[in-house]
């Protein structure tokens, strides 16, 4: 077995484990991975890409809704939060989802400053996750290019 491949696989495995341990991902992400196969090898990447597109769009909507110098339409903000909560839940983006849950409460309480702060956190969080997953996908690519197989990681 190629030592380089083995090292990359070890690196990959540890990285994935850390993402779960640090709460970036939850078991829905595991579920998505299990839906990927040789016939649909890019399924997870595709879904995540759509998710991040969603993030950009929804965060933009929320920022605009909160940027009203007159009255802020909190139900509008809330509607976008609801959507983001849904898609983050569907991909296993645990931290983003958690923030959305708080965010929803802040909207319901019409807490303007709270919402603005939360939105900033959401923005940081999804971008952080995006970078981390990009690193993960890059590792996968490296493994394959080195002639290895991407290991299935048991997160338990």
């Amino acid at each position: 077995m190629d030592a380089h491949v083995a090292q990359l696989q070890m690196q990959y495995r540890n990285y994935i484990l850390s993402l779960y341990q640090q709460g970036f991902l939850d078991d829905q992400f595991t579920e998505l991975k299990s839906l990927q196969d040789d016939g649909s090898p890019d399924f997870v990447a595709e879904v995540l890409s759509l998710f991040f597109d969603d993030c950009v769009k929804l965060v933009g909507n929320m920022a605009r809704a909160l940027d009203q110098t007159g009255t802020v339409d909190f139900s509008q903000v809330g509607a976008n939060v609801h959507q983001l909560k849904g898609s983050s839940s569907s991909v296993g983006a645990k931290r983003v989802k958690g923030l959305c849950i708080n965010f929803k409460e802040l909207c319901e309480a019409k807490n303007y400053e709270g919402c603005v702060r939360c939105l900033q956190q959401v923005d940081i969080e999804y971008k952080t996750l995006k970078a981390k997953l990009q690193d993960m996908f890059n590792l996968e690519k490296q493994i394959v290019q080195a002639g290895g197989i991407v290991p299935q990681v048991d997160i338990n």
């Binding site: 070890m10 909560k85 991909v91």
Partner: protein, 261 residues
Amino acid sequence: MARDGGVSCLRSSEMMRVGIGGMESPPLDLDEVHVLAVDDSLVDRIVIERLLRITSCKVTAVDSGWRALEFLGLDNEKASAELDRLKVDLIITDYCMPGMTGYELLKKIKESSSFRQVPVVIMSSENVLTRIDRCLEEGAEDFLLKPVKLADVKRLRSYLTGDVKLSNANKRKLPEDSVPVNTSFPPPPSPFPISPDSSDSSLPLTISPESSDSSPPLSPLEISSSPLSSPIDDEDDDVLTSSPAPEESPARRQKMRSPLD
């Protein structure tokens, strides 16, 4: 560290088996099962589509209730003769959608003569008991808590198979449907795939008695992985309307109602 060795030696075929999670059972129907999936979220549409395809369903995914009605031909007064050719075996819809909610879509489907016998499953990210009850009472077959998992879809698939077998039977029954319901139908003599012991008492969804009034909302676990979610020939009850099952739950209530509307 033996695990590392095992992991790094996984071959792609093994990965596939492990990856798909043991989906060994071949499709049981002669015709492909066709599912109409409705969800305003693109991410969710992609995921549900994948889940359904993995379980050997043909999928049409639309982004709104209106588009769903359009697809079904229910948005205008098309002749139902056309619709006979459109085969939809299951409709799965998100609850919270802008414009038309999943609940409203459910009602419209159950009001239509062409599609009211098609099972409708509602998905929601919120575990709200009143919402679940309302949907079941309106005729929803099942209620899935999001995020939807392969196990949920497999469960749907398993009782859907029975449904497809019965779809011819239902067609035969249609002339009787138009008869006002004061008569009790004689038990159909034909060989419906029902066994007398097939669980009248098992329900697709457990709504535990103590929670029907006050609420601690059911935990998601109880909804999506109900112990009573074994393959049940629920549709049998729709056919055998002469013997209404005891009213044990909202799920049971709607089962009695649906074909007689």
